[in-house]
Amino acid sequence: MKYSAWSLIRGGLAGHQNWSAAWREATPKPSYDVVIVGGGGHGLATAYYLAKNHKITNVAVIERGWIGGGNTGRNTTVVRSNYLYPESARLYDFSLKLYEGLSKALNFNIMLSQRGLILLAHSRHDLDSQARWANAMRMNGIAAELITRNEIAALAPALDLSPDARLPILGGFIQRRAGSARHDAVAWGYARAASGLGVDIIQNCEVHGFLKDGKAVTGVETSQGTIRAGRVGIAAAGHSSVIAKLAGFKLPVTSYALQAMVSEPIKPLLDTLVLSPGTGAYLSQSDKGEIVIGAGLDLFPSYAQRGSFAGTQAILAATLALFPSFSRLQLLRQWAGIVDVVHDSSPIIGATPVPGLYINCGWGTGGFKAIPVGGWTMAHLLATGKNHELAEPFQLERFNTGRLIDEAAASGIAH
């Protein structure tokens, strides 16, 4: 069913009793052209672009839990493309452009709101480094503006802009095309569109091992039986190392817990995204009115999807220094996702040492914004066996050749 204003009215008149399921519940067939391990945004987008761009529809997405239940449902929903190096700028801006047309392409409202992302400078050094950052973006053809303290005051008056603030705000820069999107809708929209094109989405299906013919992967052993596959793609974010181990190789990945939290809903107060790189705090207000607060990594390896209390405390202290008026807000929820951090904070989209097996991982703390491009480039790879040109610099072999693309400074979260 195509969603439209008319379908909404008709649905409303029928008391919303007749909506069909957005995607088919599938059980595994014995074999597929492509099996994708991981039903988060990246895996679902891969399936959608395989069907849409490459006409390969004999595809299964297998997910251990429920789709979008991992990092896709645990991030702070920020989309942006403010990176430093040309390779990354191309990659992330392509993703942002796909986001800009995604609601129409998927016929599913992802509630993209390009409300702008302000980065705050708290010191002379922050001003210098942000001037460099904004200039690097402009050199790469991505609009960024350095803004003054007064402009920030007009955009986000709730910030503590007094000269004796704990974190004085001296200026900053803004990417106006940055924004937020509803993360569940991104997962559901891709799932619905992929399912509509014939892709099987199989939930509660955990991978236990790989079928191999010699060295090459020819399928997966799962909790719902054996599934043969021409090619297998992994999109498992923080659990990539666990899947890689089943296939017999190692990754340059360490898994960390990254936490976030939301307050009770309040009236509209903050209509931009605010990031304070100096403290690691990043905030926005959701359409429901909750203040969404993102924190830093717990800097020890973890697969526990909960953040440390020390991390919560540190980020709330920073939040209150920036926005003193939030001091009486109550938190509704706090959670963490397990992120796959690599040494240069750039992704890996390419072949693995195992023939027939491909991987999309390493997005670390910034995977949500990259869902469209991760899916687009991974679909190209799974369909053709060749790297998409955008993904060419982001190969696993760079950790052996030394050609790293160090985006730690632009990741926004201290690693």
Partner: protein, 96 residues
């Protein structure tokens, strides 16, 4: 919240410590291929389960030591010295 038993200072809050990542990684000697050097620098087991790792009591005595810790439950299983042999923990990468 983890309570970590520093071998010198006793039980302390996790905030006093820094994690230095996987321990017992042997630095390759002599002429080394790019592959071996990259593996040494970057590639890790990153286990879901018991991990042998090094920690430093940064805001205490400043000493390094080793831990066997579960990355899912965060339970600290064994605390041992930097030069000691790894403990015997079945299934833990690097353990004997």
């Amino acid at each position: 919240m983890m309570l970590i038993k520093c071998p010198w200072c006793g039980n302390r809050d996790e905030n006093e410590f820094d994690c230095g990542g996987t321990t017992h990684i042997a630095r390759p000697t002599g002429a080394v291929s790019d592959d071996a050097w990259g593996d040494y620098l970057f590639f890790r087991e990153n286990p879901q389960g018991v991990h042998l790792e090094r920690w430093r009591h940064s805001f205490g005595c400043g000493q390094w030591f080793n831990l066997a810790r579960d990355t899912v439950t965060h339970a600290v299983l064994v605390v041992y010295g930097m030069t000691e042999q790894p403990p015997v923990i079945p299934g833990a990468p690097g353990s004997i």
